[in-house]
Symmetry: C2
Subunit: 250 residues, 2 copies
C-alpha cells in the first residue's frame, strides 16, 4: 500500500518543474527498469506489486522496494497501459563532449516532441553514437515520454544541453558539421568520416538559421517523385534514422 | 453552432466499429484537410470556425461547410491540440496490387501502433512506394491517429488488407521477398531490384513464422556495438525507414 501523499509526491515528477527542483525522474516498465538497474544511475526506490516481485525476485536484489496495488501504480503512472513496476532515480548532468573530439556526434536543434527525442536516442545508441548535444530549447531528456521512447537507451547515451552556436563554431574548426536540408547534396553521395557531426533540426521548422550558418555540408534525403502529388517531408525521427544509418552505420 | 446530437454522431467515428459500419473517416487539421480536398476521396462535410473560413476562403470552394465554435471542434476532435478545421470523408477500399506486378511493394505484418503505421505510410510515399499490403490484423488505416501521422500521405498511398501467406506465395514465384530479422545479411550488402517486396514485422515480435517462411532474402540493419551494453532494437518506423531508404531510395 502506497499512501495518498506519497502517490501525489511521485506524480509531481511528471512535471518538469518538480523534476528540475528534485533532480529525480521516473522510469516505467520492466525492460526500462531492468536497464536502469544495470546502469550507472542511482536508483532511489522501486515501486511494484507483490505479484510482480514474486515473479522476478532477482531483479530487485539490494534495492529499496515499496509494494503497492495495481491501482496505486496506475495512479502514479503516466502511461496509458500502466506498468507493474516503476523506479525513481537521480538525474545525471553529463559533462558535454569536446567540440574538437574524434567521436561522431549528434546535435539536436529544437526537437520538440519527447517521443521523437527518445526514438532518436534509441537509434543513436544502435549506431554507437554515445553523446548527443541538444540546444537548450530541445524537449527535456528526463521527460517520462522521452525516457519511455528510448526503450532503455537513456542508460547508454549521454545527452548534454548547451548553446549550439559556440559549440559548433569551435567544432567546425577541426571537423565537418553535416545538416539535413531540403536542398542539400544527396545523402547517398556523402562519404562518411569518423568524426562527423550530424545536426538534426526541429520537426516543423528544420535547423535554425544561426546553426545552419555553421553547417559545412548540406545534405538531403532524396525524395523519389515521379511528378505525382506526394509527401512534403519525412518524420524527424525517421529522417534522423536514415541519415545516421548512412553516416554511422556499417 | 453544431448540435449536440451531430457532435455525438461525428465523435462515434473515433471508434472503429462505427467507421466500419458507416464507411466514413475523420481528417483533422489544415494540412491534412487541404491534401484531402485535392485528392480522389469523396469529402462529405467540412467543419470549421467562421474565423478560419474567413482566413482561407479558397480552401473550401464547392464544399459543404458547417460552422462551429472552437469548443464544438474541440468536442469533436481526438487531438490534444484541437484543429480549426476537420473533414468527414468516405472510405475507399483500393483493389490489392498484383502479387506478380513490377512495382516495389511494402508488406506490413501485424503493425499494431497507429502512429507507426502512419509514419511508415509517410515514408513509403517519400520513396514512391504507392501500394502497401497489410495483414488483416494490422492496425486500421482509417484510425484517426494513423491518418494524422501520415501528414497527408494517406491521400497518395493505397493500403490494402489481405492475408499475407497466399499473396506472398504467389509473389515469391516471380520476385524477391525481403524481410528484416536480427540475423540476416547486412542491409548495406543488398543490391536492390525494382520489383522488390519488403516485409516489415510487428513492433515487439517481428515477422510471424508463416510469413518468415516465405521471405527469400533475410536482411538486418547492422548494429554498431563495441561490446558495451546498448539498444536491443530499433523503433519499427525507423527500421522501416532505413530499409526503404536503402532499397527504394536514390
Amino acid at each position: 500500500m502506497i499512501s495518498k501523499q506519497r502517490i501525489s509526491d511521485i506524480r509531481k515528477l511528471h512535471q518538469k518543474k518538480f523534476r528540475d527542483a528534485e533532480r529525480r525522474f521516473i522510469v516505467e516498465g520492466r525492460k526500462s527498469v531492468e536497464m536502469l538497474l544495470s546502469s550507472a544511475f542511482v536508483v532511489e526506490e522501486i515501486l511494484t506489486t507483490e505479484a510482480f516481485h514474486a515473479q522476478y525476485p532477482g531483479l530487485f536484489q539490494g534495492q529499496a522496494v515499496t509494494f503497492g496495488s495495481p491501482t496505486d501504480l496506475e495512479r502514479i503512472s503516466g502511461m496509458s497501459t500502466p506498468p507493474e513496476v516503476l523506479a525513481i532515480a537521480l538525474q545525471k548532468r553529463p559533462a558535454p563532449p569536446s567540440p574538437s573530439g574524434k567521436q561522431p556526434l549528434l546535435v539536436l536543434d529544437r526537437i520538440s516532441d519527447p517521443g521523437n527525442l527518445g526514438t532518436i536516442i534509441r537509434t543513436a545508441d544502435w549506431f554507437n553514437i554515445q553523446h548527443i548535444v541538444c540546444s537548450p530549447d530541445c524537449v527535456e531528456f528526463y521527460n517520462p515520454k522521452t525516457i519511455q521512447a528510448t526503450m532503455g537507451s537513456f542508460c547508454f547515451v549521454e545527452v548534454s544541453y548547451l548553446p549550439l552556436v559556440p559549440f559548433l563554431q569551435e567544432a567546425s574548426q577541426t571537423r565537418r558539421v553535416l545538416g539535413t536540408f531540403m536542398d542539400g547534396q544527396p545523402l547517398a553521395s556523402i562519404v562518411p568520416q569518423p568524426d562527423d557531426i550530424l545536426v538534426i533540426g526541429n520537426e516543423s521548422n528544420g535547423i535554425t538559421p544561426e546553426v545552419a550558418a555553421l553547417v559545412t555540408e548540406r545534405i538531403t534525403i532524396t525524395k523519389v517523385h515521379p511528378g505525382r502529388p506526394s509527401a512534403e517531408s519525412l518524420n524527424a525521427a525517421v529522417a534522423a534514422g536514415i541519415t545516421m544509418s548512412q553516416l554511422f552505420g556499417r
